[in-house]
């Protein structure tokens, strides 16, 4: 009897974990689906099969670097230079994982290794906001990461099959991620120091994006802005 009750409570807790993970992650899926489809269409045009598209999404799971890889592939770039570019574009995740690590002390390392796979710009911001609010844990954040991952892999494959039938500009889908970043940014601003850092990073990022080719401007601007902010505070 006791055993049965415990089992029931366990299933209830699992269900809660799933439901709360889903409640946090669905807007990310709304953002991923159109972009995933767009990626699938482009990758198909670059000569990849739906299976190859799905494999890239599964192995890499990082949208902007996948777009860049496909454009480099169709320009005939060598694998080594595509891999190097991927590394540079995605190095920003190092900062995101470091911020998340603060909340995950003494977690199971196998789970952490699985969790690391799903750290993207979006899942990072969602999970971090929830960790700050409290009542969030590694299991819930794993649900967030993996539902987002499934939405990404599936929508890129769908794009590879039949995305040409969906008009690119329908329903403002191209704006989903921008709108999401706006809200996620607001979640991150919890005081004057965050506000000043964000303004500084935004301005630096615009300047760097105008003068430095590629995507490295995001990392440069964020690192410089946070460092300057700390330096100001210490003066």
């Amino acid at each position: 009897m006791k055993h049965k009750k415990m089992k029931q409570e366990n299933t209830k807790e699992n269900k809660n974990t799933l439901m709360q993970g889903w409640a946090a992650v669905w807007p990310v899926c709304v953002g991923y689906v159109p972009i995933g489809i767009a990626f699938g269409v482009l990758a198909r045009k670059a000569g990849l099969t739906p299976l190859e598209i799905g494999l890239m999404s599964l192995f890499v799971f990082a949208g902007s670097s996948q777009f860049i890889a496909v454009s480099m592939l169709s320009a005939g770039a060598a694998a080594a230079s595509i891999i190097l570019t991927t590394f540079i574009v995605n190095i920003r995740h190092l900062l995101m994982s470091s911020s998340l690590a603060v909340f995950l002390g003494n977690s199971d390392r196998k789970k952490l290794s699985l969790f690391a796979y799903g750290v993207t710009d979006e899942s990072f911001a969602i999970n971090l906001a929830r960790f700050r609010e409290g009542g969030w844990d590694l299991n819930r954040s794993l649900v967030v990461n993996h539902i987002a991952n499934m939405a990404w892999v599936a929508s890129t494959v769908i794009g590879g099959y039949g995305g040409q039938f969906i008009p690119e500009r329908a329903f403002g889908i191209g704006y989903a991620l921008v709108a999401m970043f706006i809200c996620l940014l607001i979640f991150q601003i919890r005081g004057r120091k965050h506000l000043i850092t964000a303004i500084l990073a935004g301005v630096l990022s615009v300047i760097f994006s105008l003068i430095i080719p590629g995507n490295i401007y995001v990392v440069l601007a964020s690192v410089l802005a946070a460092t300057l902010m700390l330096a100001f505070k210490r003066l």
């Binding site: 911020s99 002390g105 329903f171 403002g172 889908i173 989903a176 709108a179 706006i182 996620l184 995001v218």
Partner: protein, 107 residues
């Protein structure tokens, strides 16, 4: 069939993407970080999101140049106010898409 060169490419891309995601979680989470680093990391999310966002709103083209009057920026202003007021991620995404769709029609 998948060509082996393609497999090498995606596995390579996967590794260089996974390792920076994994190192801090695997090694830092067991360790107490110095307060200065924690303070710095606390500022990083707002910095990254802003650095990702602002160039999307006010620059365009390749090579990039400043372009202010774009539907991206005009839609962003009411979307921003809505997000500040409601703090609802889903609502913000839906409203932003709708406004952008409208503005693209009229601009």
């Amino acid at each position: 069939m998948i060509k082996s060169e393609y497999l090498i490419l995606v596995v390579g891309m996967g590794l260089v993407t996974y390792i920076p995601r994994w190192i801090p979680l695997f090694f830092l989470s067991k360790r107490k970080l110095p307060p200065l680093i924690i303070e710095w990391l606390d500022l990083i999310p707002a910095a990254i999101l802003s650095a990702l966002l602002l160039p999307e709103l006010i620059t365009a083209g390749s090579p990039r140049h400043i372009e202010i009057f774009r539907p991206e920026l005009l839609a962003a202003i009411p979307t921003f106010l809505f997000a500040v007021k409601t703090k609802s991620l889903g609502g913000t995404v839906v409203l932003g898409m709708f406004l952008f769709w409208l503005l693209e029609k009229v601009m």
